[in-house]
Symmetry: C2
Subunit: 206 residues, 2 copies
Amino acid sequence: MGRWQSGAEGRLVQAAYELYLERGFDDVTVAEIAERAGLTKRTFFRYFDDKREVLFSGAPAFEAGVVAAVVDAPADVAPIDAVVAALVAAGSGITAMGEDARRRQRLIDTSTDLQEREMIKMAALAAAVADALVRRGSPEATAGLTAQAGVAVFRTAFERWVDRDGAVEFAPLVHQALDELRTALRPDGAHGPVGPPTDGVRHGNR
Amino acid sequence: MGRWQSGAEGRLVQAAYELYLERGFDDVTVAEIAERAGLTKRTFFRYFDDKREVLFSGAPAFEAGVVAAVVDAPADVAPIDAVVAALVAAGSGITAMGEDARRRQRLIDTSTDLQEREMIKMAALAAAVADALVRRGSPEATAGLTAQAGVAVFRTAFERWVDRDGAVEFAPLVHQALDELRTALRPDGAHGPVGPPTDGVRHGNR
């Protein structure tokens, strides 16, 4: 997020958010952001590649937090649980910002360019999480699948959080989405509430 | 893929592939692609937004094929099975091209720009598949998770196919990746071979 960063970078982020919310992302130029922040275009480009990146200034710290939490999870925690716990912790840091976080997401949702940039950040996050799982001892193939599933669960939960109002806890939304994914993948394709999975044989004995 | 398309578009695709493989993606310009195809830059831009898009000329047809297969799957087929069957069918069309398909993927893997473009195409594919599932009656939230899981399984299987040599069947790789994802998501976090899942209680009676 970076809205409360001090110094030039923080002022640029603050100015960009204000202008994007006032006039819409498409209609704001880098020159205008720099001017509002009392800085030059050149300074802007020292911190950001383009005007999209301003909205993702918090992404490196978010990713680093998730990766550290996955790597540091106790050895007896299953990979998917380590990933989900890490994403809950990092995501709760975002949802704690309340309306600012919702406004940021709604801004991203107004622009295809921004949505694409977000998808790339999410894919990079999944790759970093997969890497962290491998460092914990997961085989590479499973690590990739687990990481992608975790990120899909996170995105689903976060979208639901954005769509609600007021103080909504993030963790239960993540666990609910994980349960839904498990149900959706059940070999028998059942769609009832999550219960004891079957062994893949419909109507089999249990 | 589009390598065997006739007409201007097909010639541009063919010329671009040749040049990218000869000299590397980064060192080829649109002007050079157009020249090799015996066409103008203006004609190039009538078909493609930039030199990355040439490598994804087959994406719309691929996506349309997957969506149609999902929508047309019999009503009693579980959503994840409909998605996997659709991705197996469309993916087999790619893997049937053999070395050309492997060469294309290896080319994408040489460039961050191309990898990002591919991630965006995959995210768009997942969104289209989610949409198709909703048209079949899936609730929106589950549809998104199922689609993203299906696409993650597809990507994993496709990567493995690219890494192997010769005639490798695609369908078993997809089903293996799906089994691995199911195992990775098991509530007990067990990592043995896929068998009867537990009900989430470790060492519980069944």
